[in-house]
Symmetry: C2
Subunit: 437 residues, 2 copies
């Protein structure tokens, strides 16, 4: 799928960097040249990047070629969402307030992948402060459509075969929505799994560093580097035995292509002999959306209190409305919302029983036409709110030709299990090429 | 106690700023001059400040005097721990790596108090990255003794009547320990109550913005400003009915003055007619210290990964040891530690029953002699780890003349109740002057 999206018959070498570099078949510089050529070819249309310095990327690559292999990501090209600090590139947050802003140090997640040898290609476009006001990025699969947000550039850059993997963040649905809209893999771990130092706060109760990638081996390799893990490549496949199918109370929002994607996913599981049981969300979830909005607005308004004080005119209209609202939410309402979310989480945890995995819709539907909105977060944010790890897989194609993902959800801290199930599930998709298998 | 500590017969006006400014009896500039005079007199001995610009403080004060009253903290002098970003002052983290570092915007907590009219006096000394390697601060009550840490300068500045209130942070015991050692009030809310945007991450699972103050009205006023609250001055007093006395499993660490402080506190409650019931911590707490250490080391090492990569020579020996250890902790051990802490929290929550308040020891003992260590965190960190709000009250005086606090703990999000109980409890202390009553 990657190669056809890229409009070439073969998978470009830089997209297969992980495997090729490990085998020593290519140099980091060759990989870097492939990345830069692809970006030069396509960036005018896609606008995935907020910052890139081609010469500096080549220098980084040459330095990697000269030095001994530093770690599991040696030479692997990676894009960094532009709300994540980088010591050698500006971090502009999708806001004119941060035009040209140069952080002093890398965010923890950047420092960890850099120390493991990753080639930091550049900063990918983010919606304003990882919120809802979009940047200039277009969906590479159909330039008239939104790539989703807020990790717009990370998803578009991966989908367009510019880089095989990118870091994003998810507070509502900012990893999985763009991943689904652009037809690539999204991964959101348990919140505390990946350190957030140096990531611009949106709503700290929910902010999570995630990964958007061309295939699951990249997700696995990057996640291990971010969590003191050791590399075990390739990622193994594991068939689940007991899976829950959860349409959620938002099911009526699901557009036909989402219904089709979800039902196809469930059918594939059943056809493979997996026991799939329909489950409803516990009744506490009836008001989880309102609780999430309260926490989100309260925390985002506080996190931007300084910028709001000094440069309110540089806020987008929608963010200005949110900040004004957030600064008036009573503390008791905020605290009550957090307590409610904790009850949801406990109820959901109790409902797991002996289930190993849950399959759920990922998005309302395919990427909408137009670039003014990044789409709706509800099918993604429900799982972010209760802080469970999730993977989204672009297993379905809508009649329009656009991809639609399904979401796999596991219990907290079961990321490795989840990724093995995802590999197995991905293998069920007909017509997809999993690059690393 | 404040006035006798300050070596003057009367409470200086700038320490009573909250009440005086509200009544219009003094100007912000007069308050600022009082602050600066006191600092000029004592800073050579105490070393509470990492940064202060007297002329800029006076300008701030004059600007406040010229403008209409902006909020509930109009003119109130406040110190800011030097791991908290300030847009107009360097933020040096107690580390040479950040010498002269000037953040672009205020941390959320600074922006909120600034918007409410607070007079930002300067940056108070922190232990290196809010860890254990001390800065130059001495205990103003006895210059041979540590002020505690890591919010060393915040506690010393308040105790020495330089400012009436300061912001600190607590990851283990960094608010309550220095508050107790210096004989002032400490307050740590539920973690999510006060936004952490712009606060240098230590261990994000535990990092909490707290308040150190001369009296409870400052705690109440600042906390309300930090949480969208409206001012209700003065803070009301409320007598609890059912209190738990919890010596914790660390009781054998308690030095005689801590035993005396705790027993005196319990006796005062009983003499006032409060039902006090001894409780033990749930059995899950037997290993909470080890779980906390795992999480702390893993997260601190990741949060400083960039600094560690570029300037390892500028780390203190103890922090270098911690980072090396933290980078090798397996992900599964880290995840297991978080799950264990969550079980402790749930067990503790279930144990509350109809209790309203808990009284616990605050510190091992009085401030130790010497400045090389900031003391032990165990009696404080147990409550930080399960994320319950707590107040420390310096109600007891050891034979040496040094203060020893007791700690009051409430359920999550019951900060306002907790502060009313604390006011009532503080009123039981004989020989103490509560400035605002």
């Amino acid at each position: 799928m990657g190669s056809s999206r890229a409009g070439a018959g073969l998978i470009p070498a830089h997209v297969s960097a992980l495997a090729l570099l490990r085998s020593g078949e290519v140099s980091c510089e060759e990989i870097a040249r492939g990345v830069l050529a692809r970006i030069a070819e396509r960036e005018r249309d896609v606008h995935a990047w907020a910052y890139i310095d081609a010469e500096a990327v080549l220098e980084q690559a040459r330095a990697l070629d000269r030095a001994p292999v530093r770690g599991a990501l040696h030479g692997v090209p990676i894009g960094i969402k532009d709300v994540i600090d980088t010591q050698d590139m500006p971090t502009q947050m999708g806001s004119p307030i941060y035009a040209g802003y140069q952080p002093r140090v890398d965010a923890a997640c950047v420092a960890l992948v850099r120390a493991a040898g990753a080639l930091i290609v550049g900063k990918t476009v983010t919606a304003e402060f990882a919120g809802t006001a979009p940047g200039p990025t277009a969906n590479p699969l159909d330039l008239r459509r939104t790539p989703g947000g807020s990790s717009s550039g990370s998803a578009a850059a991966v989908a367009d075969s510019m880089v095989p993997v990118a870091l994003g963040t998810q507070t509502g649905g900012s990893v999985h929505r763009p991943a689904s809209y652009c037809g690539v893999i999204g991964f959101k771990p348990t919140q505390s799994a990946v350190n957030r130092a140096g990531v611009k706060a949106a709503a700290e109760r929910f902010d999570t560093v995630g990964i958007i990638a061309h295939d699951l081996d990249y997700v696995d390799a990057v996640f291990r580097v971010l969590t003191n893990g050791s590399a075990t490549s390739p990622l193994q496949s594991q068939q689940p035995s007991r899976v829950a199918a959860c349409r959620t109370s938002l099911w009526e929002r699901a557009q036909p292509e989402t219904v089709a994607a979800f039902e196809a996913g469930v059918n594939r599981l059943r056809e493979a002999g997996v026991r799939v049981r329909d489950i409803d969300l516990p009744e506490e979830f009836a008001t989880i959306g309102a609780a999430r909005a309260t926490i989100n607005d309260f925390q985002r308004a506080h996190a931007l209190r300084s910028e709001w004080q000094s440069q309110p005119d540089l806020f987008s209209p929608q963010l200005a409305v949110l900040v004004r609202r957030g600064l008036t939410i009573p503390f008791e309402q905020f605290a009550g919302a957090i307590e409610h979310v904790e009850r949801c989480r406990a109820a959901f945890d109790a409902a797991w029983g002996d289930l190993e995995l849950l399959i759920a819709p990922c998005v309302d539907g395919e990427a909408p036409l137009g670039l003014a909105s990044t789409g709706e977060h509800h099918f993604q944010s429900i799982w972010t709110t209760i802080d469970v790890p999730s993977v989204s897989l672009p297993m379905h194609t809508a009649p329009s030709g656009m991809p639609v993902s399904v979401q796999l959800v596991a219990r907290p801290w079961r990321e490795h299990e989840l990724l093995r199930y995802a590999r197995w599930m991905n293998g069920l998709a007909s017509g997809r090429t999993d690059l690393s298998r």
